[in-house]
């Protein structure tokens, strides 16, 4: 496949070689993610998983979704959505963690009978 395929509407067309390489990288990273669970990393396990997942997602976005070759504004939209999710998660996490000591376990007045 020629690396210089182009299209009159969209300009740059993803070279097949690139697509195959990204596919391979994603498969490898999947295997890495699964293997990482066999290592005993209690505290940072979630962050390792998150990190690898983010790398995979970034590869999909940049290459499969063509984000690398498109207008930067599209990437800004994508990133902004993620930032707002993080904002929501962050503040909700902060708050719920902070009020856990106030909770009375098993206390659900009026909820048992439905």
């Amino acid at each position: 496949m020629s690396d210089h395929s182009s299209n009159p509407i969209v300009g740059h067309v993803m070279p097949l070689k690139t697509l195959v390489m990204i596919w391979g990288a994603l498969l490898v990273l999947t295997i890495v993610t699964v293997s990482a669970t066999h290592l005993d990393l209690p505290r940072i396990a979630i962050w390792v998983a998150l990190g690898i997942a983010t790398v995979k997602a970034t590869l999909v976005a940049l290459y499969f979704m063509h984000l690398r070759y498109e207008r930067p504004f599209h990437a800004i939209i994508f990133v902004m959505a993620v930032i707002f999710v993080l904002l929501f998660v962050g503040i909700a996490l902060t708050d719920t963690q902070a009020y856990q000591p106030d909770l009375i376990p098993g206390y659900a007045p009026g909820m048992g009978a439905r």
């Binding site: 902004m80 904002l87 503040i91 902060t94 708050d95 009020y99 009026g110 909820m111």
Partner: protein
């Protein structure tokens, strides 16, 4: 003049309306739907206020009362104010103000309207199925266990959310892609800046409402248990979910209204807007900061002290851009040649009423005062001052401002002014009394109350009747104008934005050719021509 072919006469028959792709016709379809919803919400308001004339049973049982205020809230918020300005005036004028033929995705626009209708049908179904009694906020755990038609109403709201999202997408793409080359961002009318900021919120916030309502539906139908404390769930988490959308939603309501204000204040002061860039940036700032303050609805819900502090502080921040806008409008009026036609009367009402509403929001944003005022009539009065005294008043101002353009007819200026004054008086009677009784402890959503609050309730109810008289007057003269009104010139008020350069009503394609460069809010050369009863632009050569 307007016997020329226009978008109304372009094609006829019900199918040409129900299958239209013309943004102007879609705007009119929305206008009819939204005014119907306003009517339904208004009737429920009158029933509520009539019930509250006395602490005893008047019209309805307490259970029915709960259903009535839920109906009023849900209909007014989801079916009237949130779609409100963007779907009606926004749809109609966004492309015209850009000098474009239509929005970026005309068929999607029509789909948005059908989604609105579909969602409204679900809401009506929930009424037929007996009504919901949870309040429009559907707080768990009660909304999980009540045996009222919650699923129907939340499904309707879910569908309406999609309508909102699609409109937002359409507007963003239209503003990005369909501007003529000479119209840079800072040559756009401020109404479009506000619609853009609104669209950002619609796009980012509404999906979270979607997932919230979906989880609530799953909770009720399948017992999924995420918000149910008996199953290990967290009801405060529901509130986080709900308000993450619903707070930015109130800015969906107010931002387009503020955009209308910029148009009205500059046109009727016949003076260029003061601080264009500040107003434009403040719209974006409001959109962004609005996502940071949702916890101020949850100060007494069980939220942690840390979150209370963070949200209270940020709430004070969000008031700043709104304040900037108000000062800029006042500065626009200063040394302008102010004329007091009906749209300007509404604009002035907005300044006063939104000022009060915004200020009382600060009282509620302060933690210590909110503990006393939360869930009292003070809150009710606050949000009615901003949503009604702000958004609805500005919407009415915009409706009157653009009525001649949309329908090619002038309404009776005398009756319009009378209605505006009646509405202003009725509004203040209705809601100012509520501030006072709220601060004295009258709780909201209560069908009965201690006798000492009765005078306030009676004043408030009488005010609501005065309000409705004002609206009846308005309906009469507006409908009358459609048949007997004087034919409108292209530019009856002396506006400078592009919609005043095409005929009244606009032709099907808006402009024969894309209009040439023009600066919005440049009033030099706009002079009144008595021969046509409107304004003409003597300064620039027309294309």
């Amino acid at each position: 003049m307007s016997t020329a072919e226009n978008y109304l006469t372009h094609s006829s028959g019900i199918r040409s309306w129900l299958l239209t792709r013309d943004h102007k016709r879609i705007g009119i379809l929305y206008l009819i739907s939204i005014m119907s919803s306003f009517f339904l919400g208004g009737i429920s308001a009158l029933l509520i206020r009539t019930e509250l004339l006395t602490p005893n049973h008047a019209l309805m049982s307490p259970e029915a009362y709960n259903k009535m205020f839920t109906l009023h809230g849900a209909v007014m918020i989801f079916l009237f104010v949130i779609p409100g300005v963007p779907a009606t005036l926004g749809n109609f004028f966004l492309p015209i103000m850009l000098g474009a033929k239509d929005v970026a995705f005309p068929r999607l626009n029509l789909a948005s309207w059908y989604l609105y209708v579909f969602g409204a049908l679900f809401a009506l179904a929930s009424i037929v199925m007996g009504g919901v009694d949870t309040g429009w906020t559907f707080y768990t755990p009660y909304s999980v266990i009540t045996n009222t038609s919650v699923v129907a109403l939340t499904a309707g709201a879910f569908i309406l959310g999609f309508s909102s999202i699609l409109t937002g997408i359409n507007f963003v793409v239209t503003i990005h892609k369909l501007r003529p080359d000479w119209m840079t961002w800072f040559k756009m009318p401020l109404f479009l800046w506000s619609l853009y900021a609104t669209a950002i919120i619609q796009i980012l916030a509404t999906p979270v409402l979607g997932i919230t309502l979906l989880l609530l539906i799953l909770e009720r139908t399948l017992g999924i248990g995420i918000f149910n404390p008996a199953l290990g769930g967290d009801p405060v988490l529901y509130q986080h979910f709900f308000w993450f959308y619903s707070h930015p939603a109130v800015y969906i309501m107010i931002l387009p209204a503020m955009g209308i204000m910029s148009e009205l204040v500059s046109t009727f002061s016949h003076r260029t807007i003061f601080g264009y860039r500040f107003i434009a940036y403040s719209s974006i700032a409001i959109a962004v900061i609005s996502f940071l303050v949702w916890g101020h609805h949850m100060f007494v819900s069980g939220q942690s002290n840390l979150a209370d502090l963070i949200f209270s502080f940020l709430t004070f921040l969000v008031a700043i851009p709104s304040g900037i806008k108000v000062f800029n409008w006042l500065a626009t009026m200063y040394k302008g040649s102010i004329t007091l036609e009906a749209p300007m009367l509404y604009a002035l009402s907005f300044l006063f009423l939104f000022g009060i509403g915004g200020l009382t929001g600060l009282f509620l944003g302060a933690l210590s005062t909110d503990v006393h005022l939360h869930d009292t009539y003070f809150v009710v009065a606050h949000f009615h001052y901003v949503m009604f005294g702000g958004t609805v008043i500005a919407f009415l101002g915009g409706l009157h401002y653009w009525w001649p353009k949309m329908f090619g007819r002038m309404y009776s200026e005398k009756w319009a002014r009378i209605a505006a004054v009646v509405i202003f008086i009725g509004f203040n009677l209705t809601f100012f009394a509520q501030f006072i009784m709220g601060s004295k402890g009258m709780p909201r959503r209560y069908a009965s109350y201690p006798a000492r609050f009765q005078p306030y309730h009676d004043v408030s109810t009488i005010g609501s009747y005065v309000l409705s008289i004002g609206f009846v007057i308005m309906a009469v003269y507006l409908i009358h104008s459609l048949f007997r009104g004087r034919r409108a010139p292209a530019n009856p008020w002396g506006g400078t934005t592009l919609e005043w350069k095409c005929g009244s009503p606009p032709p099907h394609d808006n402009f024969a050719e894309t209009p040439g460069p023009c600066e919005p809010y440049d009033f030099r050369g706009i002079v009144y021509d008595p021969a046509i009863g409107g304004y003409v632009d003597t300064a620039r050569a027309r294309s």
